[in-house]
Symmetry: C2
Subunit: 120 residues, 2 copies
């Protein structure tokens, strides 16, 4: 594999690739912050498979408490990863679904998966 | 973009893609654990640019304390990301360099960067 250098090969002129200390505006930090916390990546995985109601998410991840599920959904909404949509009808349903930006986490999770899978 | 689903499109039969709670053996968790902590990704960035001595790393990241630098180098060694090599000669030099596995973090950091850069 080519010796790829973040901030050199792909991004020669981006001053953010030259920071000399951790910065919350570093793109890498932004992504890691969006994925931070137990359950977060599993929730994104579920939503990559399709939109889900709160109770569908709870059923898919039964060991996840309602409180943590609510917190994680709020965190991911704040990060621009997902939004919710109220469906009319009876009973009314609220669905959580990835935003276009959230769907672009697919390749990111795949890259994280691929590296970890080679480590095993 | 295609609706990519981790653990479905790419990895149809891998039972690790079906876990219903956080697991340290999940490949995604392994990668996130290797990158965890302040300064870790910046250190990997420096080493993607080439092998470095302790003092070269300190010069590149001047706000990083010796203690944290030592801790992070130990963490990354433990994770299989880097190793050190003693160079003969005078004065003797100890160089830190990425392992082949460590160099494969290049595309991972690039994926993390790309997502965060789109968010700004």
């Amino acid at each position: 594999m080519a010796h790829q250098t973040v901030g050199q090969a792909g991004l020669p002129d981006d001053p953010r690739a030259a920071v000399t200390e951790p910065s919350p505006s570093c793109p890498v930090e932004i992504t890691l912050a969006a994925l931070r916390g137990r359950w977060t990546t599993l929730l994104v995985r579920e939503l990559l498979r399709g939109e889900r109601t709160f109770s569908e998410l709870r059923d898919a991840l039964p060991a996840l408490s309602d409180k943590v599920l609510s917190d994680r959904l709020a965190q991911l909404t704040e990060a621009g990863v997902l939004d919710r949509e109220r469906r009319s009808g009876w009973p009314p349903r609220t669905c959580y679904r990835l935003t276009p930006q959230g769907r672009r986490l697919g390749p990111v999770l795949q890259a994280l998966w691929d590296w970890g899978a080679e480590r095993l």
